[in-house]
C-alpha cells in the first residue's frame, strides 16, 4: 500500500526537469528572504518509528504523507482543544464568542478530515494530545490564538511542497488558507498587521512548530 502510493509520475521526478531552484532564486530575490528552513529534527527526534532521511522532519509521526498528515492532525487537535477551552472559559461574549466558536468548529472539521486522510493513506491517525492553555484574560487569549493560528498557517506552508499525493496536497491547501484567514482575523483584532511576513508568507519547519507548542502539551 505504501509503495503503491508512490506515484510513478511524482512531483519529485518533475522537479529535476523544471528548473525548480531557479524559481526559488527568483522568489527569494523578490521576497528579499532570509534563510531557508531546516529539515533536521534534532531535539524532538525521530524515535525509530519513522523512516529514513526521505521522511524528513515529520518522521516521528509516520512515513511520508502519513507523517505530514499526522503532524497536521496533532496541530489541529491542539487548535480545536484550545478553542473549546476558550469557549468554556466564559471570557468572551457576543460577536467575539461567535467568531471563536466558528473557528473552533472549523478546526474540529480539520481534525475529522485529517483523521480520515490518515486512514485513507492506510495509517493510524495520531492520538489526541493532552493540552493545557493559560486562559486568564481575554487579551492574552486572543494573542495566544493569533500566535497559534499564524504558526499553524506557517506549519502547513512548511510542509506543502513535501506532500507527494495530489489528493493530500489539495486537502492541505484547502486547510492552509483557512488557517491564514483565521490568523489574519485575529491579527486584525489585535491591531497588528494581517500580513506580518509581508507579501510572501514564511513557512515554519516542524521542529520550530513543535517546539513552540510544546509548552501546551501536557501528555
Amino acid at each position: 500500500m505504501k509503495d503503491k502510493l508512490k506515484d510513478p509520475v511524482s512531483r519529485r521526478k518533475f522537479m529535476a526537469l523544471s528548473g525548480g531552484s531557479a524559481a526559488a532564486a527568483a522568489f527569494l530575490a523578490a521576497c528579499g528572504s532570509d534563510d531557508s528552513s531546516s529539515t533536521m529534527a534534532t531535539t524532538t527526534g525521530a524515535d525509530g518509528m519513522g523512516g529514513g532521511m526521505a521522511d524528513g522532519e515529520t518522521a516521528q509521526f509516520g512515513k511520508g504523507d502519513l507523517g505530514i498528515v499526522n503532524y497536521a492532525l496533532t496541530l489541529e487537535y491542539l487548535e480545536a482543544a484550545f478553542y473549546a477551552d476558550v469557549v468554556k472559559s466564559g471570557l468572551f461574549k457576543g460577536a467575539e464568542l461567535k467568531a471563536i466558536e466558528k473557528f473552533g468548529r472549523e478546526e474540529a472539521e480539520h481534525v475529522e478530515a485529517l483523521t480520515q486522510a490518515a486512514k485513507s493513506l492506510g495509517g493510524k491517525p495520531a492520538a489526541e494530545p493532552k493540552v493545557e492553555f493559560p486562559l486568564e484574560d481575554a487579551q492574552a487569549v486572543v494573542e495566544l490564538a493569533a500566535t497559534v493560528e499564524n504558526l499553524g498557517a506557517a506549519a502547513y506552508l512548511g510542509q506543502a511542497a513535501n506532500i507527494k499525493s495530489p489528493e493530500v496536497l489539495a486537502s492541505a491547501l484547502a486547510i492552509h488558507s483557512v488557517e491564514g484567514r483565521h490568523a489574519a482575523a485575529l491579527n486584525g483584532m489585535l491591531g497588528v498587521s494581517i500580513t506580518p511576513d509581508g507579501a510572501f508568507a514564511k513557512p515554519a519547519d516542524a521542529q520550530t512548530v513543535l517546539k513552540s507548542v510544546e509548552p501546551f502539551i501536557v501528555g
Binding site: 510513478p8 518533475f14 524559481a23 472539521e109 507579501a199
Partner: protein
Amino acid sequence: MSHEELAHPELVAGVTVDDDSQDLSRSEVILKGALAAGAVYGTFMVGPYVRKALAMSGGGDVDILNFALTLEYLETKFYEEAKTRARAKGELKALVDLIAKDEAEHVEALTATVKQLGGKPVAEPKFEFDYNDTAGFLKLAQTFEDTGVSAYNGAGPQIKSKDVLAAAGSIVQVEARHAAAIRIQNGAEPSPEAFDPPLDEMQVLKAVEPFIA
C-alpha cells in the same frame, strides 16, 4: 435511477477522472479519500473538490504561473485604482494600500519566476471595474480575493516544481489573509468554510472575464 445514485454524481465523476487501471494506487487513493471525505462533509463538497483539483490541464508550471500572474495583474490594477476610486477611509484605506503593495509584489515575483523558468510572462490585459462607492469596491474585492485563494488552491496540486509550489503557497496564504480582512470590512465571516474550495482554470476565467476589457 435510484435516489441513491442521483445523490452522488460528483463523487462518481471525481473517481472516474483518473480511470486508469494501470495506476491502481492513484484511483484507490482518490476513491478512498473521496469516500472518507464524503462521510465527513457530504458528497456535495467532495466530488467537485477532488475532480477540480485534478481536472486542470497539464500545461506545466509556466502556464500556471502565467495564469496566476493574470490574476495578480487584475488585483494590482484593482487596488491601485481603488486608492482614489473606492473612497476608503481610516482602517480600510490602510488596508487598500497594504493589499495594493502586496499584489504588486506578487506580480513582480511571478514575472521573475516565469522568466527564470525560461517562459515569457503573459502581457497585462486591460481591466475595467464597475463600481461607484466603497460598498461596491468591497463587494468586488471580496470576490477577487476569494477567487484568488481558490485559484491557487486549485492549481497547487498541478504544480510540478517543489519550489514553485512553495512559492505559490506563500502567496496564497497572503491572498487568504487579504480575503479575511476584506470580508471583515464587508461584515462577512473571515472564513466562510472550514475548507477553501479549489477552482479550476475555466471557473476562475469565468469569474474574472467580465472585468477584462
